[in-house]
Amino acid sequence: MTEALDLKTGASPARRLSAGIGAQIRAFVRTPINVVLLVVLPLVVVEGYGVAMAAFPQLPFVDTGTLAEMGRVNGAIYSVAFFAGVLGLFQVISARQADERLRICGYSRSELFASRLITVALGSLIITGAALAVLWWNVPPEAPLFAFGALALAALVYGLIGMLVGAVLPRALEGSLVMVFLVDFDDFLSSGLLDIDSPILPLFPLHFPHKLFRSAVFDGSVALGNAAAGVTYVLVTGVVALLVYVRLTGNGGELA
């Protein structure tokens, strides 16, 4: 005989959030490719970019560091942005349908978004630490804490963009391609390796993190204007990602 279970007490949002984040972190570390990427990506990309750039002659308009150092700096930014972007993407698409069920069972859409976002943020901080450690091996930053902050900003903004792409384009292959090309293009244009003077450059997600990171690594300085612009960019992207996520998860994936 089935007994009636009459022990419902109601769960606080904090308890739901904690359970959601715990589940996401477990799912993350139990996916081998995530762990492999976390370890291998910074090493391969930072050193690979450094070695590749060392083969080029010094460019006249690059006035900070050698090209090999610039390559490693770009590699660090690329590795954190790409990893966080893909993490954000898969956080949304891999659990999209199960999330819908969890919403029916009692989670609010904003709680689901928050649990994904916190997981992405944690992953971003870990990859940031890994990339900075690899960079430090050959290019010790002048201001390590500021460098960490700038790199984390690059990871966070792409983590959010990954979530946004995952909500709008919930397909692994197509979403991954968007992230690869977007991060690659953005990192290249924002890197300072090209003498580009265009009013649209500040619209690219890595524009301000790149400036902040280069100055933190090479000069040990921080331009407050760039920092404020970078943080604002992250906040605006976060709001847009939240709104799109909430609209999409509320209607079976269809924009209402």
């Binding site: 089935t2 009636a4 279970l5 009459d6 007490t9 959601g20 799912a27 509320g250 079976g252 209402a256």
Partner: protein, 250 residues
């Protein structure tokens, strides 16, 4: 207001008239997100004014051909999908067992119950009690520490069903719930549904076909976007028919 189980025990005279779930004039069409002149995707009308009521303590079968819109109807009834038109009224808690087990592959069975139990607002003690109860009844106790993606299809379906049942809902919406079950589990499933309906739980089961009609109080067929009562073989309006299969006009 006492819950449905208590109202059954107290012999609530109004219970027979109370719809725990009601879908009124439900319509749904899947449309591509671009204009008609773009030759990608096509418009598919699924529901056109479908009506359904489910009362406390009854078990309703919803049948229909492949692509008739059964799963769409269930997603609308449970709130996973918005209808284009019409209204859904629910009273009490809903349990939903989707056709595909919508679970987190990388979590263990134990973690799955904890996550969904927390979503339902159950405390740890209630979650463990529900988990152990259904693990014992449906026979997955030895798999509690297995990850979902390491389970067989049948065992995954047992977890899928148990997650829908664990919070003791007032209305259960089950989409092909016994797919992959072995015979013992299949029989256990029906025993479980009988106990639940005796306690006042309303159950709707979607199936391609109903092989054991005597197990259902009503059978509704979804065709051409509408539901008709085919309990006794002939079509009747699904919403106006009596829950036990007697027409409202009789």
């Amino acid at each position: 207001m006492p819950n449905i189980e208590n109202r059954v025990r107290e012999g609530d005279a109004n219970l027979a008239d109370s719809h725990v779930l009601e879908g009124v004039e439900l319509s749904k069409t899947y449309e591509p997100p671009w204009p008609d002149w773009v030759p990608m995707g096509r418009r598919v009308g699924v529901l056109e004014g479908a009506e359904i009521t489910i009362d406390a303590g009854e078990i309703v079968g919803i049948v229909g051909e492949n692509g008739a819109g059964k799963s769409t109807l269930m997603q609308i009834l449970v709130g996973a999908l918005a209808p284009d038109a019409g209204d859904v009224r629910r009273s009490g808690q809903v349990g939903w067992c989707p056709q595909e087990p919508l679970l987190y592959d990388r979590l263990t069975v134990r973690e799955t119950f904890r996550l969904f139990g927390t979503a339902y607002g159950m405390d740890d003690e209630a979650i463990v009690a529900a988990r152990d109860q259904y693990a014992d009844r449906l026979g997955f106790a030895e798999f509690l520490d297995y990850r979902i993606d390491h389970l067989s299809g049948g065992n995954r379906q047992k977890i899928n069903l148990s997650v829908a049942l664990m919070h003791d809902p007032d209305v259960l919406l089950l989409d092909e719930p016994y797919t992959g079950f072995d015979w013992e589990t299949y029989l256990e499933f029906w025993e479980l549904t009988e106990e639940l309906t005796e306690r006042g739980t309303a159950i709707a089961i979607i199936s391609h076909f109903v092989s054991e009609r005597e197990r259902f109080d009503r059978i509704l067929e979804l065709a051409d976007g509408r539901l008709t009562d085919v309990t006794d073989g002939g079509p009747k309006d699904a919403a106006s028919a009596d829950p036990r299969g007697v027409s409202a006009d009789d």
